[in-house]
C-alpha cells in the first residue's frame, strides 16, 4: 500500500504529512528546551548577588561555533534549493558542507568541554583557594601542579572566582600544591555548581541534536540518496524536513550562546 501525502499536500492541512509531523515534533522540542531555559532563569534569578559565574566560557570559541552553525543552516537550505532546481551535484556539495560544519561544531564543543574538565578549583586546609588548569596530577607524586592563580577574597567574604572575565588581566603562574594541604579539589564538571550543571545539560542536549541531525543528513547524503532516482520530489521533501530540524537546532544555539556565554 502506498503511503499517502508524501509528496502532494493533504487538502485539509495544505502540507504533506511529514511536514506536519516535523512541526509537531519541533513544538515538543520547544517545550523540552523551554523547560531547561526556565530552570536556568529560576536558578539565575535566585542566585545570591555575585555568586553566579560570569565569563567562564571561551567567547571566541562560542562565536566561532555560532558562525559555523549559521553557515551550516545556509548550506542546508541551499541543499534543499539544489534539489528543487534538480541539481543533484550541488545538493551533494552543500550537504557535505553541512556535515563538515556539524563535525567542526562538535569538535569545538569537545575542546570546550576538555578545557572545563581540566580546570580545577583547589581549596586548602587553611581556607586559601587556587584556581587554574591542571598541569600535573600524578597520583604517585605528593603534589599537584596547576597553571593559575591564588584566589582573592572579596570584601563580602566571597571568592572572586565568579567573575573570571574581570580577572583576565591577573597574571597566572605555575603553582605547586602539596597534596597534604588540599581539603577539596574539584574540576569544572557539571557537579561543580548550578551554572555548570545547566551548561552541560543544555549544551550536551544541543550537541546530541547536532549529532542526530548529522546522522539524518549523512543518511540522505549517503544511502538515502537512492530515492532521488526513484522519486526526486519525495527526496526533496525529506531534505526539507531534515533542514527544518537543522534550522531549529540553529535557533536553539542562537539563544544558548548569549545566555551561557555573554550574560
Amino acid at each position: 500500500m502506498e503511503i499517502p501525502y508524501t509528496v502532494e499536500a493533504r487538502p485539509d492541512t495544505g502540507l504533506y504529512n511529514a511536514k506536519v509531523g516535523i512541526w509537531l515534533f519541533l513544538a515538543s522540542e520547544v517545550m523540552l528546551f523551554g523547560g531547561l531555559f526556565s530552570a536556568f532563569v529560576l536558578l539565575r534569578v535566585g542566585a545570591e548577588p555575585g555568586t553566579w559565574p560570569h565569563g567562564w566560557q571561551n567567547i571566541v570559541l562560542g562565536t566561532i561555533n555560532t558562525i559555523v552553525l549559521a553557515l551550516s543552516a545556509i548550506t542546508t537550505l541551499m541543499a534543499w534549493v539544489a534539489c528543487k532546481v534538480r541539481d543533484f551535484g550541488k545538493f551533494k556539495f552543500f550537504h557535505a558542507c553541512t556535515l563538515l560544519l556539524a563535525l567542526t561544531f562538535l569538535c569545538i564543543k569537545f575542546v570546550e568541554y576538555s578545557e572545563h574538565l581540566n580546570h580545577y578549583e583547589i581549596t586548602l586546609a587553611n581556607g586559601d583557594i587556587y584556581d587554574g588548569d591542571m598541569v600535573s596530577n600524578d597520583p604517585t607524586q605528593d603534589h599537584v601542579v596547576i597553571r593559575g592563580r591564588k584566589d582573592q577574597i572579596l570584601k563580602n567574604g566571597e571568592p572572586d572566582l565568579y567573575d573570571l572575565r574581570a580577572q583576565k588581566d591577573i597574571p597566572e603562574s605555575e603553582i605547586t600544591i602539596p597534596r597534604s594541604q588540599i581539603s577539596q579539589m574539584d574540576n569544572y564538571g557539571p557537579w561543580h555548581n548550578n551554572y555548570l550543571a545547566l551548561y552541560y545539560t543544555l549544551t550536551g542536549l544541543h550537541a546530541m541534536h547536532i549529532l542526530g541531525g548529522s546522522i539524518v543528513i549523512g543518511y540522505l547524503w549517503g544511502p538515502g540518496r537512492k530515492l532521488w532516482k526513484k522519486d526526486p520530489e519525495r527526496f526533496t521533501n525529506r531534505v526539507e524536513v531534515s533542514g527544518l530540524f537543522w534550522h531549529f537546532v540553529d535557533l536553539v544555539w542562537i539563544f544558548l550562546f548569549p545566555v551561557l556565554y555573554l550574560t
Binding site: 499536500a9 493533504r10 487538502p11 485539509d12 492541512t13 495544505g14 502540507l15 511536514k19 506536519v20 512541526w23 509537531l24 513544538a27 520547544v30 517545550m31 523551554g34 523547560g35 526556565s38 530552570a39 532563569v41 529560576l42 534569578v45 535566585g46 567567547i59 562565536t63 555560532t66 558562525i67 549559521a70 553557515l71 543552516a73 545556509i74 537550505l77 541551499m78 534549493v81 539544489a82 528543487k84 532546481v85 541539481d87 550541488k90 527544518l244 534550522h247 531549529f248 540553529d250 535557533l251 542562537i254 539563544f255 550562546f257 548569549p258 545566555v259 555573554l262 550574560t263
Partner: protein
C-alpha cells in the same frame, strides 16, 4: 470521519511552492548570514559594556532582544515561516501559549514559599 480529499485547502500556496530560483536564494542567504554576523557582533559588544554604564538587567534584556531578532530572521527566511500554511501557524500558536505558561509558572514559583518562610 470526512474524506480528506474533499476537504478545503487550508490557505494560499506557499512561496516555495512556486519555482525556486537558485540565485535569488544565494542572495537571500547572503543577507541572512550578514544579519546573523551583525547580530552576534552586537550581542558581544553589548556584553562588554561596563556595569557602570549599563546595569545587568537592561544589558541582558538588550542581548536577548538582539537574539530574538536574530532568531526571527532565521526562522522567517530560512525556515520559510513568513510564508507558511495556517496549520504551521496553528501549531506554533499552541506552542507559544504553552511556553508562556511554562515561564509564567517559573516566575510564579519564585515567590511561592510555604507559610512562615523567612527570606532574606
Amino acid at each position: 470521519m470526512s474524506e480528506p480529499h474533499t476537504a478545503p485547502v487550508a490557505s494560499a500556496p506557499q512561496s516555495h511552492d512556486h519555482p525556486v530560483e537558485f540565485n535569488s536564494y544565494v542572495r537571500r542567504c547572503a543577507i541572512v548570514l550578514g544579519v546573523v554576523f551583525v547580530a552576534v557582533g552586537l550581542m558581544i559588544w553589548t556584553s562588554y559594556i561596563p556595569e557602570a554604564r549599563l546595569d545587568w538587567s537592561p544589558k541582558i534584556a538588550i542581548i536577548l532582544l538582539i537574539a530574538s531578532c536574530n532568531a526571527f530572521i532565521v526562522a522567517g527566511f530560512l525556515m520559510h515561516l513568513i510564508s507558511e500554511r495556517k496549520m504551521v501557524y496553528t501549531i506554533l500558536g499552541f506552542t507559544v501559549t504553552f511556553v508562556i505558561g511554562l515561564f509564567a509558572l517559573t516566575l510564579y514559583a519564585m515567590s511561592d514559599f510555604p507559610l512562615h518562610t523567612i527570606t532574606r
